[in-house]
């Protein structure tokens, strides 16, 4: 008998005139300690996550990230990386196929999962510290990672605004917020603090929080013929992911129906 049933019956005993609600007997699962359907798989390590699907001839990609926050890639030297043992290819803005930027996140009838307007791998401009600027593909993860460390980049660095206080001067009023016109009202905090009976004037800052899941972002892409690619991804929004990947439409790859599997 569940804890809730027991508690209800206790209450019924204490309050004998209270009519028993027949719905109390009709819940089959609510309040019951039900084992998760995938419980056995998860506690035995059998549950598969996105990086764990067995694929024949799997290659490994390692991403090179920018080390400046803003500027231009003047030179990107990939010869050493390309010649490293086991390397299959090195992709940069110099040789990546032109790709359409995915539409911003949208859960409507044309779902999309775009998160930036930056033309990743199709631009020499760096817009954030850690922007992907090259991909090295190799036979093993160790070879890909090591070859990625051999890519040498020369930047023309530009001053970057990285503090909220510094950015306020360039703030713009958006045209609309969730479909409605924005309303901006300024009060007079200085006067309020001056004239109030009590004044508390302190500055609090909190750092940005990132809800990092422990599973790394990893995806496996498997091409089967020219017209079909299956992507195993970590995503709650497989329709959006598939739609956005398909929308890249790189001109050197025939556009293909995409299958994105939720891991």
């Amino acid at each position: 008998m569940s804890i809730i049933r027991r508690a209800v019956e206790q209450i019924a005993q204490v309050m004998p005139n209270r009519a028993e609600d027949e719905l109390q007997r009709s819940h089959r699962y609510l309040g019951q300690p039900i084992d998760r359907l995938d419980g056995v798989e998860k506690v035995t390590g059998a549950a598969r996550f996105s990086a764990e699907y067995p694929v024949e001839g799997l290659a490994h990609a390692s991403i090179v990230f920018s080390t400046i926050a803003k500027g231009v890639i003047e030179r990107i030297e990939t010869a050493a990386a390309g010649q490293a043992p086991g390397v299959i290819t090195v992709v940069t803005h110099l040789n990546a196929p032109p790709m359409k930027v995915p539409a911003p996140m949208s859960i409507g009838s044309t779902p999309s999962a775009g998160s930036t307007s930056v033309k990743i791998l199709n631009t020499d401009r760096v817009t954030w510290n850690g922007q992907p600027i090259a991909v090295v593909v190799a036979e093993t993860e160790e070879r890909a990672a090591h070859a990625a460390s051999l890519v040498r980049v020369t930047y023309a660095t530009e001053p970057a605004v990285t503090s909220f206080e510094a950015a306020i001067a360039q703030a713009k009023t958006p045209k609309d917020v969730l479909g409605e016109s924005p309303e901006i009202v300024h009060g007079d905090p200085d006067e309020a603090l001056r004239s109030g009976a009590h004044a508390v004037d302190l500055t609090f800052t909190t750092p940005p929080y990132n809800h990092n899941a422990i599973e790394p972002h990893a995806a496996i892409a498997v091409w089967t013929g020219d017209d079909r690619v299956t992507v195993y991804d970590t995503s709650q929004f497989t329709a959006g992911g598939a739609s956005s990947l398909a929308s890249l439409r790189p001109t050197s790859i025939v556009s293909a129906p995409l299958f994105v599997t939720n891991s």
Partner: protein, 170 residues
């Protein structure tokens, strides 16, 4: 080089470079995907495996260092299809959500219980006192502090381990 690893009671011969970690040898070469890569820098514990019964972070190793050792992964905890008591307790007390940290939590807990029973002290217990009779919350948290859970299933994890320790589940 050829490296012979004894994993879950069986010997496996793999041809790998010395820089391949034990974690990657288990996952990529032996297809034992149960052990997880969470951070690859010894900060999360998702890669915890047992070596001669002791828990280690398999990411901060080279597989070649662990020849001639008995390695046990999450796949090797159940026997004859029967779940290990710690595995059963995790299901019963809902000690997980996404499940990614779970193999590491379970392997870590199995070894932790052995350490505790063998009198291993902790920063919580005084260094000269015998192991506590009851694995209280402070002890349990300290002894499991090397395993992170980003879903925040810590309450269930703690209760599962208390159950497996034979103590009172709170």
């Amino acid at each position: 080089m050829t490296v012979v690893l004894r994993v879950n009671g069986r010997s496996h011969s793999v041809s790998i470079e010395p820089r391949v970690s034990l974690l990657d040898a288990l996952r990529d070469r032996l297809q034992l995907m149960g052990t997880k890569k969470g951070c690859d820098q010894g900060a999360c514990g998702a890669c915890t495996v047992l070596v001669d019964g002791e828990r280690i972070n398999s990411c901060l190793t080279f597989a070649v260092q662990y020849e001639d050792r008995e390695i046990r992964t999450i796949e090797g905890l159940s026997e004859d299809g029967q779940l290990h008591p710690v595995q059963r307790a995790f299901i019963e007390h809902d000690g997980f959500q996404c499940g990614y940290c779970t193999p590491g939590q379970i392997c870590s807990a199995v070894a932790m219980l052995a350490e505790w029973r063998n009198g291993m002290p902790s920063a919580v217990s005084s260094s000269d006192a015998p192991a506590p009779a009851d694995l209280n919350e402070d002890e349990l948290r300290e002894r499991m502090s090397g395993n992170l859970c980003r879903c925040g299933a810590y309450v269930g994890i703690r209760q599962a381990i208390q159950e497996a320790a034979g103590g009172t589940v709170r």
